[in-house]
Amino acid sequence: MTRIHPAALTSATQIMLIVAAVMLAWTAPQAASAAPRAKPDTTGTQEGEEPGPLPSLEQAEERGRRPLEDSPATKQPLVVLDGATVLTAAGKTFAPGYIVLDGGRIKSLGEGKAPAIDGAHVIDTAGMFITPGLIDTHSHLGVYAAPGSRAHGDGNEATAPTTAGVWAEHSFNPQDPGIQRAVAGGVTTIQVLPGSANLVGGRGVVLQMVPHRGSRAMRYPGAPETLKMACGENPKRVYGSRSSAPSTRMGNLRATRTAFLKAERYLAKLKKHEDKATRKGPAAKRWRDRDRDRDDEDGPERDLDLESLVGVLRGEVLPQVHCYRADDMLSMLQVADEFGFRIRSFHHATDAYKIRDILAERQVAASTWADSWTFKLEAYDAIPETPALLAEAGGLPVIHSDSAISIQRLNQEAAKAWYAGMHAGIKVSRDEALSWITLNPAWVLGIDHDTGSLEAGKRGDVVVWDGDPFSVYSSARWVFIDGVLRYDSKNTTTWSDFELGQGGNQ
């Protein structure tokens, strides 16, 4: 192709080129600003860029939480479950009774025969038992997905002792075959947590057990944020074995308290900045119009770790603290007092019976096992009567799994704990024992106003069992989540992509 010398261009062409160049130069910045306005880069302002209003922490978080997946509501007719023994976990038992599910919610329920409703899809549940959907406050499904493998080891960001800014949601693999098996065990909601290698492991996430392509769409609507923390042997073993801090329990506490000290300072900066940005009155307006450019108008830099801890200080992020020994739990309660926040639930808490008076008085829940002990020295003193003793003392016992296997029979775990208490002479009602895997975990996760018991208006998270859920022989027959049938024991499909095409090559 022959080269064209600019001078050879006609003057008309030259003018067109100049106009085109000017238009390009003119439209480019506008094209940039047509994109969603990003927070101004504080490391170097761009020429001609107007710093927009700084999003508040809430706004920044909300923007980080929008789902991409379209989750259209699954259409289902009004469903009537008729004739079962209905165990509400809200103090009532209807034997027999009925439940009406409509529009994703429990429309009504009660004693005796179901009312006749036009267009209702009636399911005969005579001889069966109905409970609220089971809730597991401590699961590593998805973050240690099956099959166990290096690739699926996503539960512990064990590269620093405090990693408050990692989110379990980002590690959660919705293709974990364990998810469906948990639903087959009657579980409808779980809290997925980072592991306990770190003193602050990161944010947990509350999920509905519904198949989706991404974890974001599984988030339980409106559930508060949670933060995993840990005390005791695990963090000090993980870091101590690398000859780095912490390597002792006192090292654990120093690091935890230091993290909150930093969060306190950050919170003060945030408050100051938010006050300035929103304050009314002429002086404030003058500052915004005139002095903001010169002052620290962009406020403190975003810091994902500190944002999580600030959430705890503000009471918006619910702390979930892995801790076994009585004295370790007392230390953590002291830290909470020092920084003015409330621990929502201890996890594992095998010594909880020793301090149940303190836990009850402060309404700190204890998510624990029916019977798991002596795998670590801090679990040496576990007793099977812990949940019953906690209930007797007015505390908040919760049975959790921390296991992809026992999540499949959470109903059995609650039964074991109930009977252990009864055999020791600690009288607890069956409804109360059922609440250890329904309403109490719902409270721990901040969703007890919405689910966790069978009451009119609550979410249609309902399990129909083929027998007494506290019998070893019983299985879930039908599981409803948001009023939609998600599991039918006689009509199962494979949820996980991993399981497709497995099984011989005949």
Partner: protein, 441 residues
């Protein structure tokens, strides 16, 4: 007829004591006649049965024993009434043989995470440590033993872990002041793990090598001692231990879950003519025909299903039921984690997934006793050792509990360090350790 019973009992005792460390010295007069209970006898459950315990043994059991009509008014029972036999109406009891956990770490591990408290794995040992005998480190005084008993366990196989050939396991009863009391069989089986190392084919190769060398060693000891043989792959003690597998006196228990691995093991066992037991067997249902044909028993956990690992992609909840129906000897086990209390519930899980009830009970009592040749254990019958549990109801059910536990005829204490902790903290607030009262003048 009583004479034949006595002779039969003596023969059983003699056979038992030839293989055990403990000699069954019957305490003199202890004798109990239990009537009215529902008893799980070898043929199935029987209501209103009679069990007679004399010393460490069951002297009689049933409503009608062949050639010996037994009832509370029967003159044959009169001789038991002449002694200091207690006559006990136990109509609220359900009695089974004591349960047997075949993959236990009780007595070998006190606290799992503390290496100074555990002795199940020779961590710095060679891949082939066949002569290692966990009986030598078994702690009969472990605080975990009374706790394990509350799950209805009266005997366990305490097993080694680690390496390719982990060593010899021990059969123990869960009582006794020391090893001399508790250990029933010092080397009950040889344990191996196909998954050891990076290649299963290599594990098969090394197992063949070990077995071949053991066979060679057994036939050429003199030449070996005189230095006239080719080099062998292990030291003499290991070769002696493996020799017991070669001559079929003890089984080789190999950890394997994947169907491909079980298939390779069946081939090895056939070629080497050894007794094989599969430990794990998550995908064993795929090979149930071949396992039954080869007489290979499978130790399994009914709650291992679904693709938890690449070794169990095709594991199914009805694994136990399918194997049993095909004629395979199945043993249910909790895997020896912190789980001794859960063995009976696992049996319940197996029933929920389709296994017949009696088969599930056998899988935790008579089948392990049969496969591992534990004399007089696992069954309630005349001449058997009195390892029994009296339950408040169905032992598999969550609502039931053991009311009385007998090991070698002796009632064991149901208190444990856990019950003591519970009692210490029963009333709060208040000091768990109150000061002693002032001494009286």
């Amino acid at each position: 007829m009583n004479r034949w019973l006595a002779i039969a009992a003596c023969l059983v005792l003699a056979a038992g004591s030839a293989r055990s460390i403990a000699t069954a010295a019957d305490p003199a007069a202890a004798c109990r006649v239990l009537t009215g209970a529902r008893v799980h006898l070898p043929g199935g459950p029987v209501d209103n049965a009679v069990v007679v315990i004399v010393g460490e043994h069951i002297a009689a059991a049933g409503t009608a024993i062949k050639g010996l009509e037994l009832s509370t008014t029967d003159p044959a029972l009169a001789r038991f009434r002449d002694h200091t036999c207690s006559q006990e109406d136990r109509s609220d009891w359900l009695i089974t043989a004591g349960l047997i956990e075949t993959r236990s770490n009780v007595g070998l591990v006190e606290v799992g995470a503390e290496d100074r408290s555990r002795d199940q794995n020779w961590e710095e040992g060679p891949p082939n440590r066949a002569a290692l005998s966990v009986a030598d480190s078994y702690n009969a005084r472990s605080s975990q033993i009374p706790i394990a008993r509350l799950g209805g366990l009266t005997s366990v196989l305490a097993i080694p872990r680690g390496g390719l050939i982990s060593g010899l396991g021990a059969a123990v009863d869960l009582s006794g002041a020391g090893q001399h009391d508790a250990i029933l069989i010092k080397g009950v089986a040889l344990y191996a793990d196909l998954g050891h190392g990076s290649s299963r084919a290599a594990s098969i190769l090394l197992l063949h090598q070990a077995l071949n060398d053991a066979r060679f060693f057994a036939g050429n000891k003199r030449a070996f001692d005189e230095g006239r043989t080719r080099p062998l792959s292990a030291d003499p003690t290991a070769l002696e231990a493996i020799g017991k597998v070669v001559n079929r006196s003890i089984p080789l228990v190999v950890r394997a879950n994947r169907a491909a691995d079980i298939e390779a093991l069946l081939r090895l066992a056939d070629e080497q003519k050894i007794r094989l037991v599969v430990n794990g067997g998550a995908e064993a249902w795929l090979l149930r025909g071949k396992l039954a044909e080869a007489g290979v028993a499978v130790i399994l956990d009914p709650m291992v299903f679904g693709p938890g690992s690449f070794d169990q992609i095709e594991a199914r909840p009805d694994n136990a039921a399918l194997l049993h129906r095909a004629g395979v000897d199945i043993i249910i086990s909790g895997g020896g984690r912190y789980f001794p209390l859960g063995l009976r519930y696992l049996a319940g899980d197996a029933v929920r997934s389709g296994l017949e009830y009696d088969a599930a009970l056998d899988a935790v009592t008579s089948t392990p006793a049969k496969v591992f040749q534990l004399p007089g254990r696992g069954k309630i019958e005349a001449g058997a050792v009195a390892n029994l549990v009296a339950w408040s109801g169905d032992p598999f059910e969550l609502s039931s509990r053991p009311l009385e536990i007998l090991v070698r005829g002796r009632v064991v204490d149901l208190s444990t360090r856990r019950t003591e902790l519970r009692e210490r903290y029963r009333r709060l607030p208040g000091s768990p350790v109150p000061p002693p009262p002032l001494p009286t003048p």
